[in-house]
Assembly symmetry: C2
């Protein structure tokens, strides 16, 4: 018999997840039913949205149930199979969870070719991260060359790609990130025009106003928001006419234990005839293959750099790795590589 460990939700967290949020259990791999296959998980995606899945409230997906294996995008190699479409030895990516071995019936699973790009890319730029950046930016942002685009969490998994998509499309791009190291990375490695450091003493509102003046820009045409809070509010203050605010995430608020204030400058949506809109990447599933082909080409051409932070460890490192997302220390896509 083969045994494997999984990370399960033990207790819903208040604020940042802590040790008692999780339990690690060991089980034996059961006999596969017809149509099923087993995957030896090699890499697990860590995403800010995971925090929302831990709360027991209605959202776009049901909350992870107490005692269930933590929901996570992950990839690995098929080690056993009773499904002819998913043969042993194939590399697959899907929503397999935070576990050493996953059993799948193929739903949502996709075989990928690791010779086309490093495997982790299929969780990142060619996975949900890249799809989120692509559809949020193009479908909701509706960019035109010359637009001024502001991206928060600019050194993060999604933000880093959004800014580069904007540059490819002839936009001027201002990133917002925490700390000089990240800001330097965003401008020097990712090619953003400017990057504002939200950890500086100067308020984001003031910094943004000065950045726009420096660029000779009238305002923000697209604000791609990954963080919420004061940074969203500062951007609302500088909208251009007809601006598009894309609500992708609100990492500044995910661990809040009290109700956080909404963006008080929202009335500028009226003054500037602007829109603020949310989206979920799943809605664009039928178009993923087109987006993957385009991003794949840009990666191959060197027009997009997909930064990654890969933590090597065993499955017990999952809880600590998840919390790295909220400390703001990582650059790019964060994954746990199971060793």
């Amino acid at each position: 018999m083969t045994s494997f460990r999984s990370v399960r939700l033990a207790k819903r967290p208040t604020g940042l997840p802590s040790a008692d949020t999780w339990s690690i259990d060991t089980q034996e791999l059961p006999e596969l039913a017809p149509g099923e296959f087993a995957i030896a998980i090699e890499q697990i995606s860590l995403d800010p949205a995971m925090r929302g899945w831990l709360d027991d409230r209605p959202s776009y997906l049901p909350p992870v149930e107490i005692g269930a294996i933590m929901r996570a995008g992950s990839l690995g190699k098929i080690m056993e199979s009773k499904n002819s479409r998913f043969p042993v030895g194939s590399q697959v990516v899907g929503n397999f969870g935070a576990t050493e071995i996953a059993i799948s019936n193929g739903q949502g699973a996709r075989i990928f070719n690791p010779e086309l790009a490093p495997a982790s890319t299929f969780l990142g730029a060619l996975g949900m991260t890249g799809m989120t950046a692509y559809f949020g930016f193009f479908e909701l942002g509706k960019p035109r060359a010359g637009d001024v685009v502001v991206v928060s969490a600019a050194a993060g998994a999604v933000g880093s790609i959004v800014g580069q998509l904007a540059k490819i499309n002839g936009c001027t791009v201002i990133g917002i990130a925490g700390g000089k190291e990240k800001c330097d990375y965003v401008t020097k490695e990712l090619g953003f025009d400017l990057c504002l450091d939200y950890k500086q003493d100067t308020s984001m509102r003031k910094q943004l106003g000065e950045a726009l003046k420096q660029l000779g820009a009238k305002g923000v045409d697209i604000y791609f928001d990954n963080v919420g809070g004061e940074i969203l509010n500062a951007n609302l203050a500088y909208l251009s006419f007809g601006a598009r605010v894309v609500i992708c995430g609100a990492i500044s608020q995910y661990n809040a234990t009290e109700i956080t204030p909404g963006p008080s400058n929202y009335m500028n949506l009226l003054v500037k005839r602007a829109s603020m809109k949310g989206f979920l990447v799943f809605d664009y599933e039928s178009e993923f293959s087109v987006a993957q082909r385009r991003i794949g080409t840009w990666l191959a051409q060197g027009k997009i750099t997909a930064p990654e932070t890969i933590i090597s460890g065993d499955i017990t490192e999952f809880p600590a790795t998840l919390n790295r997302l909220f400390s703001g220390d990582n650059i790019g896509k964060l994954t746990l590589k199971i060793n």
Copy 2:
């Protein structure tokens, strides 16, 4: 010589406008230049947006300058003219200000036929009020028969028309208004399906949840917001998938002297793939005539009732009449009829 009085902005108000906000001056009617005409003002529109025009901050229109005649939509009869397109005796409506006599060069002025509808209708349902309701509802709300539409300030000038447009288009309509009298008016006279009283002890969030349950509705498809604050926030909590939030006004906040919190439930825009969008009626000027024809037909057919509160008085009543908007006592379009 003919002399006339005007209401001028004397001092920018903090909070609700007060006696020292305004001055009334008297001047002589000067000789008209070629192309000009003079209007004896008969009726002046009072609109919540006026409060915003008194603040010295960037907005969609420049602030009213200190010492200038208060900006206002108004109508009257041409008493003198050096413009052949605007002959003496014609009834005209335009942005003529809070004054007994206005001089115009014809820009933004429009001759109307008082036999088609009572003159005040050209400030209300066939004027900016009706245009705001029409374009906000159709262009941003994008209604489909069967949609659940919530309208705040439902007994107000714009809200009362929005709800009736929604009924004409086969929607289910929930109004929100203050007090039993207004709520009764909204359901019995205007034909809304339900009206929630925000002055009740029960929170708007709870009331709205119960109303939706009573209607067997999954959520709010269109929320037409005239008030902002907690009522906006309650609606954000109940958005249906793909819901449209139309930001028309925020009367609950116009006289606020401190920064008011934004809507903390805005993240539901993401969960529900919804949009929140602002608009200005001026953007649709080229389509006004179509909208006026359609609303005019519905008025004539009795499908739309355009409630009005008309205050009779002289020009010195303007300041007190304006403040009635913020006490929430009026039903429908508020105008000052100069006697």
